[in-house]
């Protein structure tokens, strides 16, 4: 686990007067499950958008799978998978069609396409529903299909923005089971944001807590808990580093997206 698959150097993004991400510097190792935590508006989604080449940084640089996000964006895109927070599969197509289009867009060899799709469907427990329209799917199935779609091309790093928002506990566990399987079977690095501390605690190798665009704390959950002295929980760690509830922000659009996503999946 010593190979660095993702690193950022003073990565910064400003929106007019607001600095959403402020000189972010961190490294993620290959095969790691890395969680980015923080309250709304801390800069988690902006960070993911820059790392997935959807947003140009204002300054600084990052490398993903060895490619620069500013100069080698297309190579970065080939090496990553991305599951946005909002629903990203097309409800007016079947599950199979949603996978087929990405198999084609990622240039999977024609001979391998069918086998890869069947394998992905099996892996995510969706084989029986392959021919159904996605608009009829439950929230947990939608998320599993999105993960299948984003990993068809076997990305080195899979970015997930709030992968379990709006899911019931059982669906959440199933999604996590499949994510951990991905890491075990293919060595996929998982880089995700979440609000759920218990998810971070049970699944992450390391976490970073963001506050106002900066990394306020970085390490394993155990290390961070110990940093406050004995007897502290991750909850204490979070409120210590991420500030009080009054600080919690997030734009109207971010909050709206999160709530609609929760509604659609729930």
């Amino acid at each position: 686990m010593s190979d660095i698959v993702l690193d950022t150097e003073a990565l910064t993004r400003r929106f007019r007067t607001i600095t959403a991400v402020d000189a972010l510097t961190l490294s993620v190792y290959a095969g790691e499950v890395f969680g980015l935590l923080g309250s709304n508006g801390a800069g988690k989604t902006t960070t993911i958008k820059m790392l997935t080449t959807l947003l140009q940084p204002s300054s600084g640089e990052a490398h993903v799978a060895g490619f620069s996000i500013t100069n080698e964006a297309v190579d970065v895109r080939r090496s990553i998978g991305y599951v946005p927070q909002a629903v990203s599969v097309d409800g007016s197509l079947t599950a199979y069609e949603n996978l087929l289009i990405f198999a084609k867009l990622y240039d999977l060899p024609r001979r391998e396409q069918q086998a890869r799709i069947q394998e992905a469907l099996e892996f995510m427990n969706l084989t029986a529903d392959a021919g159904r329209l996605v608009s009829e799917f439950s929230g947990g199935m939608v998320r599993r299909l999105e993960i299948a779609q984003s990993t068809l091309h076997r990305p080195k790093v899979l970015f997930l923005d709030e992968p379990t928002v709006g899911l019931d506990p059982i669906a959440r566990d199933t999604v996590w089971e499949h994510l951990i399987d991905l890491r075990t079977n293919f060595g996929t690095t998982l880089f995700f944001t979440t609000h759920y501390l218990e998810e971070a605690e049970s699944h992450c190798d390391r976490i970073a807590i963001m506050h106002r665009g900066k990394v306020a704390a970085l390490g394993t959950c155990k290390e961070l808990e110990a940093s406050l002295g004995s007897g502290h929980t991750l909850n204490d760690v979070f409120s210590h580093y991420a500030g009080t509830a009054l600080d919690s922000g997030g734009s109207f659009r971010d909050v709206a997206v999160e709530r609609t996503t929760a509604q659609r999946l729930g």
């Binding site: 959807l54 629903v87 867009l105």
Partner: protein
Amino acid sequence: MIANFILPLTGFLEKTFVITEFEVRKLRHDFTELITRALQPALWLLIFGQVFSRSGAMHTGTIPYLDFIAPGILAQSVLFVAIFYGINVIWERDLGIVQKFLASPTPRAALVLGKGFSAGIRSLSQTLIVYGLSLVLGVKLNWSPLALLNVLVIVVLAATLFSTFSLVIACIVKTRERFMGVGQVLTMPLFFASNAIYPTAIMPGWLQTISHLNPLTYVVDALRTCMLSGSASTFGLSHDYAVMLLTTTILVFTGARLYPRLAT
């Protein structure tokens, strides 16, 4: 944007057709859209066309008025549907679909042109309706295979042009409310400042000038030339094609440049 075009052209076209293929597949699952599309041209031809044809108010030379407006109504119905195409990408943005496509290695121009083509294929249903009605109303149509092929190409090209224009607007305004407003504001001027339902000769000078800058005028001219038997082109068919192709190319490039704005 230059980096997008270093990729071999074949790869670019392949990706474009992948996008088109899946947009068209959506129709298979829900084809009500194809039926609702047919309604508007039917009303214009059957009501507006009949009334103005009887009134004799429009002087269209040797061509009967109904013959004159049949290609105009086809062009108009293509425009009216295509100009609102951008609402789909705003919808896809509010979900996370646009973001996911933009995070894939697909060239941006292929995403834009692929969607444009699919709007073109959808417009073929309107062509069918206008031809059916024209036949019933006794419009003298040109049935030569070459003319029919030209009409299909013109319709697909026109729908690609206007839907890409719509997509460019969507990338700029980003929200449904603003988009609907801008769409409404644009449709009528594009339609009335064209030769769709009256000859440009009866327009005042300033409006004639505007109509010559309006791509719809060239779409209508091309359609009129190919759809009707014995209708001479005002600008020349190759001139019409040149204007449509050039405008579409510029719009696709602009769209490719603006598309990433949807992910922010």
